[in-house]
Amino acid sequence: MSTATRSLPRTISAHAILLTYTAIALFPVILVIMNSFKSRAGIFSEPLTPPTPKTFDLIGYTTVIGQGDFIHYFQNSLVVTVASLFFVLLFGAMAAFALSEYRFRGNTLMGLYLALGIMIPIRLGTVAILQLMVASGLVNTLTSLILVYTAQGLPLAVFILSEFMKQVSDDLKNAGRIDGLSEYTILFRLVLPLVRPSMATVAVFTMIPIWNDLWFPLILAPSEETKTVTLGAQLFLGQFVTNWNAILAALSLAIMPVLVLYVIFSRQLIRGITSGAVK
C-alpha cells in the first residue's frame, strides 16, 4: 500500500501547509465575529484578542436590530430562496426525467439547448429582463426574483439530475408500468425518492448563489418592501461607515445563518461535489 510513500517529515509539512491555509481562510471570519462583541474602545485597542469582561459590549447588535429592518429582509431572502429552489427542483426533475427516460425526436437538441445556460450567465440578459419585468409590472416584487433565479438554476439542475436519472434501473420503471402506474406516478413515486441525494446536491448548488446574489435584487427589486438580506446588508453597511460596532455586528448577523446552515449541511455538500469520485 501507499504507506511506503508516507514519511514523518512529509506528514508534518502537509499539516503545516493545510493549517496555515485554514488559518488564512478562517481568520477574517473569526476576527469579525469576535470584534462584534466588543465595545468601540476594545475594537481598536485589542482587535486580535477575544472579548474580555472589560471590552465585552453588545452595543453593535442593539444598534443594528434597532435601525435596520433585518428580520424583514431575512424573510424576503428566505421566501425567494425557498420558492426558487422548489421550482428549480420540480421543473428540473421533470425535464431531466423527460430527457433521460424517453427517446423522441429532438431529445439531444433539447438537452443541448437547456445546457447552454450553464456556460452563458443570465446576467448578460439583464437589460431585456428589466424591460420584461417593467412591461409585466413585476418590478419590485419577489416574483420577479423567483422567476429569474428559477431560470438561472434550471440548466445545471437538468444536467446533473438527468445524469443521475439515467442510472435508475429500467426494470424497476417497467415493473411499475406493468402494474399500471402512470408516467407521472413513476417519476414522483419511484424515481424521485431514488435520486434524493442528487436532488440535495442540486439544492445546495442552487441555493448558495441565490442567497448571496446582489445584482438582481439591486436591479429588479430594490424597494424597502422587497430587499433581500444581501442587498439590505450592503446598503446598511454603506450608511454606517463610521459606526464600527454596528458594521461588525451587521456582518456577523449576515455570516452566522449561512455558517450554521453550512456546518449542518457541509457533509452533504462535500459529498455532492466529490460524488463523481465516490459513486
Partner: protein
C-alpha cells in the same frame, strides 16, 4: 424498450408536460432576454422611439473616447483579474487538494470544511470584512505585519491605484479557492489504486509521482476549472461594487466589465443611463465569454484525453 415493440404508439403527452415548465421558464426569462439584449444593442433611442442603427452603438463604444477609454480599461483590468485567478487560485487549489488527498491524512474533513467556508459567504460580507481588515484606521493588517517585521511594507492597498485591483483579485482568490480545491480533490480521489500501485512498483513516488502520474490524469478537471474561472471572472461585479462602489475607484483602477456595464446601463452620478449602450457592452461580454467557451470546447477539451477506468 417497450415503446419499440408497439408498432403504433399514441402521442406521448407526458413528455411535453414534463418538459414544458422548464423549457417555458428558461426560454422566457433567459434565452429571449439574452437575444433581446443582443438585438437592443443594434437600436438607439431617438425621440422616445427605438430606431435601428446597425452597428453604430459599437462604433461609439470603440470610437468615442468617452466610451472606448473606459471599455479598454475595464477589459484590461478584467484580464488582469482573470490572470491572477489562474496564477494564484488554481495552483493553490491543486496544492491543497493534493495534500488533502494523501492517504491517511488526519483531520482531512476538518481542513476541507474550513477552507471551503469563505466560498459560501456572500460578496458583501467578504468585501466589507476585508475592507475593514486592510483599513489603516483599524490597524489589524499593519499590526499583523509588524509581528513578522514587515510593517514598513504596509500601505492602504485598496486606496492606491497601482495596488487596488491586485488586492481585490487576491481577496476574490481567497474567497473562491475552495472550488478548484474540491473539484481537483474529487478528481484525485477517482484515480484508481492500481494505477498508483503500478507507479510505486516502478519506483515512482512522492513529487515525481504527482507530476508524472496524477497531474496528467487530472488535466481535464483543471480545464473545467479554468473555463469556470473565465466565465465567472468576466461576469464578476459584486465584489468590486461592494468594496469600491459603482465608480470602481480609485480613479477607475478597479473597473471591470461588470461595473462598466452597470454604470452604462443605469447611469451613475453625472453619467446618464443608456440601455442601448448597456446592451452593446453586454453583447461584447457575451462574445468574450462565448469566445472563451468555444476555445475551451474546440481547442482544449478535444486535446485532453479522458481516461476511462
Amino acid at each position: 424498450m417497450a415503446a419499440e415493440i408497439r408498432p403504433k404508439r399514441p402521442f406521448r403527452w407526458h413528455i411535453g408536460i414534463f418538459l414544458a415548465p422548464a423549457v417555458l421558464v428558461y426560454t422566457a426569462i433567459m434565452i429571449l432576454p439574452l437575444a433581446g439584449t443582443l438585438q437592443l444593442s443594434l437600436f438607439r433611442n431617438v425621440n422616445e422611439s427605438q430606431v435601428f442603427v446597425g452597428l453604430a452603438n459599437f462604433r461609439t463604444l470603440f470610437g468615442d473616447p468617452n466610451w472606448s477609454v473606459g471599455f479598454w480599461n475595464a477589459l484590461k483590468n478584467n484580464t488582469w483579474f482573470f490572470m491572477i485567478h489562474m496564477l494564484v487560485q488554481n495552483p493553490i487549489g491543486v496544492l491543497l487538494a493534493a495534500l488533502l488527498s494523501s492517504p491517511r491524512l488526519r483531520f482531512a474533513a476538518f481542513y476541507r470544511t474550513a477552507i471551503f467556508v469563505p466560498t459560501i459567504l456572500s460578496f458583501v460580507i467578504v468585501g466589507f470584512a476585508w475592507k475593514l481588515i486592510l483599513s489603516p484606521l483599524w490597524g489589524v493588517a499593519p499590526h499583523l505585519m509588524d509581528l513578522v517585521g514587515l510593517k514598513s511594507l504596509f500601505t492602504p492597498w485598496l486606496g492606491k491605484e497601482q495596488y487596488a485591483l491586485t488586492a481585490l483579485s487576491l481577496i476574490s482568490v481567497w474567497q473562491f479557492v475552495g472550488i478548484p480545491m474540491m473539484l481537483i480533490y474529487a478528481a484525485l480521489l477517482s484515480i484508481p489504486e492500481e494505477v498508483i500501485e503500478a507507479a510505486e512498483c516502478d519506483g515512482i513516488t512522492g513529487l515525481s509521482q504527482f507530476w508524472k502520474i496524477k497531474l496528467p490524469l487530472i488535466l481535464p478537471s483543471i480545464g473545467i476549472i479554468s473555463i469556470l474561472t473565465f466565465v465567472g471572472n468576466f461576469n464578476a461585479f459584486d465584489l468590486i461594487y461592494t468594496a469600491q462602489g459603482a465608480l470602481a475607484g480609485p480613479n477607475y483602477s478597479t473597473d471591470i466589465l461588470g461595473t462598466f456595464l452597470y454604470r452604462a446601463f443605469f447611469g451613475f452620478q453625472l453619467q446618464v443611463g443608456d440601455p442601448n449602450m448597456g446592451a452593446a457592452i453586454a453583447t461584447m461580454m457575451f462574445l468574450i465569454i462565448l469566445g472563451g467557451v468555444c476555445v475551451y470546447l474546440f481547442l482544449v477539451q478535444t486535446r485532453l484525453r479522458r481516461y476511462q477506468f
